[in-house]
């Protein structure tokens, strides 16, 4: 049987979800220049949020999603003002360790609250699937892709067409000039950070019905996110989208064609990270990573 059409469909669906997964990370870094090592934990908390609401009230994750995203945004803004704003001018060592520490706290808080057991949310569409000729499409993944596409397009629209979106792009490009425009930098930083967390939470809600939810899921997501961002070129949101699909294709191809591929697919992200940094540290859409 010809695997190519199935591979393309699977990779596209995965790529859409990956895009949503990293776009928040790219946004907050592009604006604040602080890499959020706790971004994976935002995804994890989103997944647990969906799980809790589903178990406690029987509410479908997709219905709970807007509320969870707003909660995530508020939480992100508060976190920024309380913990991240004080280290904006501190050495990078402090910034890295701080967000790493926040991630560690959230991860283990989740471990204490929800135990290490893998959880899952199973709405009716989670395991549905349908066929197009030879190609089998998972309903859950298709819905996840659809939501991701809507959110990513909404973010692009916001950045392109709105007053605050334009200010966000300006701030990412030229900090001092943005200040001269009368943009309240700390407020925009907090907003970008809040939005980034909200997008992470949305990713978590989607992942909640696609696989197991564990307190440690954020770590793997973070590393994949880095691979994608470095691949696409740091600070470029368009690059992040490109990187997401490239990684998705590479992983899917490995899992299809390499013996024992599903396990090795997990290593693709790391290999990508190394190869990009060695061969083309600027990523696909060239932005400076090195000096």
């Amino acid at each position: 049987m010809d695997l190519i059409p199935q591979l393309i469909v699977d990779a596209l669906l995965l790529g859409g979800i990956y895009t949503l997964m990293v776009i928040g990370l790219a946004l907050s870094f592009g604006v604040t220049r602080v890499i959020n090592f706790a971004h994976g934990e935002a995804v994890m908390l989103g997944a647990y949020g969906a799980f809790t609401v589903f178990v406690a009230f029987g509410v479908d994750p997709l219905i709970a999603m807007p509320v969870l995203m707003v909660a995530g945004c508020v939480l992100g803004m508060v976190l920024f003002k309380v913990a991240i704003a004080p280290v904006l001018k501190a050495p990078h060592v402090n910034q890295i360790l701080l967000t790493f520490g926040i991630g560690l706290v959230l991860q283990n808080l989740a471990l204490v609250i929800w135990s290490p057991d893998g959880r899952s949310v199973v709405p009716s569409y989670a395991y549905s699937s349908f066929e197009f000729g030879d190609v089998v499409v998972s309903g859950g993944r298709l819905i996840g892709f659809g939501i991701a596409a809507v959110l990513v397009l909404a973010l692009f629209f916001w950045l392109k067409r709105t007053e605050f979106g334009r200010a966000t792009r300006a701030l990412a490009e030229q900090h001092d000039a943005a200040v001269l425009m009368g943009i309240n930098v700390n407020q925009m930083y907090a907003l970008a950070f809040g939005l980034s967390v909200a997008l992470g939470v949305a990713t978590g809600v989607i992942l909640s019905f696609l696989g197991a939810i564990t307190p440690f899921m954020g770590f793997h997501i973070l590393v994949k996110g880095f691979a994608i961002i470095v691949l696409g070129g740091l600070g470029s949101i368009v690059g992040a989208v490109l990187g997401a699909f490239l990684l998705a294709f590479a992983e899917t191809a490995v899992s299809y064609y390499v013996p024992n591929g599903t396990g090795w697919a997990e290593a693709v992200a790391f290999l990508t990270l190394f190869l990009v940094l060695v061969l083309r540290p600027r990523g696909i859409i060239g932005q400076a990573v090195a000096d």
């Binding site: 592009g30 220049r33 890499i35 090592f37 913990a83 004080p86 280290v87 001018k89 501190a90 050495p91 990078h92 060592v93 402090n94 910034q95 890295i96 360790l97 701080l98 790493f100 520490g101 926040i102 991630g103 560690l104 706290v105 991860q107 283990n108 808080l109 989740a110 471990l111 204490v112 135990s115 290490p116 990412a172 490009e173 030229q174 307190p215 770590f219 793997h220 590393v223 880095f226 691979a227 470095v230 740091l234 024992n260 396990g263 090795w264 290593a267 992200a269 790391f270 290999l271 990270l273 190394f274 940094l277 060695v278 540290p281 060239g286 932005q287 400076a288 990573v289 090195a290 000096d291």
Partner: protein, 328 residues
């Protein structure tokens, strides 16, 4: 304090006391604590060396894990002794560090952190995927008949810990420290001062890698069992950074003080709160966050007179987009 003779004499006395105590009062529990403190001192000192040069490692478990596998595989394959495998782990860790420095070239702090994070995770997956060598998820036992007594290993660990601190002290008094400091503050300026960042960086990362790897090797002898999760656990990465941060980053005493405090703390919470999953890591995370926000110079800084003595060097904003409208 860090270069003061008091600290060195204090350290010497403390280690002598510990050696005597363990020899004459051979309590397994005490030995276990002292062993864990020793390996953590090595790991933390190693992490601090990189941090001194502005390199944040989020993957010290990579070195630790590679050192562990080196020890177990070498011992099982040709019956290498503790000393032999320890030396081998030093070499392997050093080479690995040198390679890492070469690969990461001139990448800035953030990217170095990302690469190290990915390195440990990537190695864990690799270890899992080649069961022919590593035993895969099932794991690997170090041949029981080769293993010396726990007490011997403890002595070995303590000596290695003292050795690592001595190495750090020697570096602190050398040109390398000056170069590291300059690189941390401003790599471009360091270059102008005639410091070759890449070469110095290679040396620092190689030494640091060798240390962490050696610590992993001793620990593998002590534990006698390895699997990818044990070898490359994120736990070691966290410990490696939290001890210097709590003790006092960029000092020699910091990692030592921090290591003692961390082991005391984790034993304390274990005894008082029992082993509840996540609690100790949660505490570590909180310590990390609180220290960075409120105690950036750690416990050592507290003793020296307040956390605000050293003026923080502001991080330069990364130039991402060209600002002058240059043609791309």
């Amino acid at each position: 304090m860090l270069r003061s003779p008091y600290f060195m004499v204090g350290l010497g006395l403390l280690s002598a006391l510990a050696l005597v105590a363990s020899t004459f009062w051979n309590a397994p529990q005490l030995n276990d604590w002292l062993f864990r403190i020793s390996t953590l001192i090595i790991l933390a000192t190693s992490w601090n060396l990189m941090a001194n040069a502005g390199l944040v490692s989020l993957g010290h478990s990579a070195f630790w894990g590679v050192g562990s596998y080196t020890a177990v595989l070498a011992a099982n394959a040709f019956g290498g002794s503790v000393l032999l495998t320890f030396t081998l782990a030093l070499v392997v860790g050093g080479v690995m560090g040198a390679l890492l420095a070469l690969v990461t070239g001139s990448l800035k702090g953030i990217f170095f952190a990302i690469v190290t994070l990915a390195l440990s995770e990537g190695l864990r997956i690799c270890a899992l995927m080649v069961p022919e060598v590593t035993g895969g998820a099932v794991g690997l036992f170090l041949k029981q008949e080769l293993r010396p007594s726990q007490h011997t290993l403890y002595l070995f660990g303590a000596l290695a810990a003292v050795g690592s601190v001595v190495v750090a002290a020697v570096i602190a008094g050398s040109k390398l420290q000056f170069a590291s400091r300059a690189m941390r503050d401003n790599e471009a300026a360091a270059q102008m001062l005639g410091i070759a960042p890449r070469r110095q960086r290679l040396i620092v990362v190689a030494i640091s890698g060798a240390m962490a790897s050696a610590a992993g090797a001793i620990n593998a002898w002590y534990g006698g069992y390895l699997d990818p999760e044990v070898a490359f656990t994120l736990h070691n990465t966290i410990l490696s950074q939290i001890a210097p941060i709590l003790g006092g980053i960029h000092t020699i005493a910091g990692p030592v003080v921090g290591a003692v405090a961390i082991i005391a703390l984790s034993e304390g919470t274990r005894i008082w709160l029992g082993t509840m999953e996540g609690v100790s890591q949660l505490t570590f995370g909180l310590i990390l966050v609180v220290c960075i926000l409120f105690l950036p110079k750690g416990l050592v800084g507290l003793v020296q007179g307040g956390p605000n003595r050293r003026k923080p060097t502001p991080a330069p904003r990364l130039p991402l987009a060209s600002t002058q409208g240059a043609k791309p």
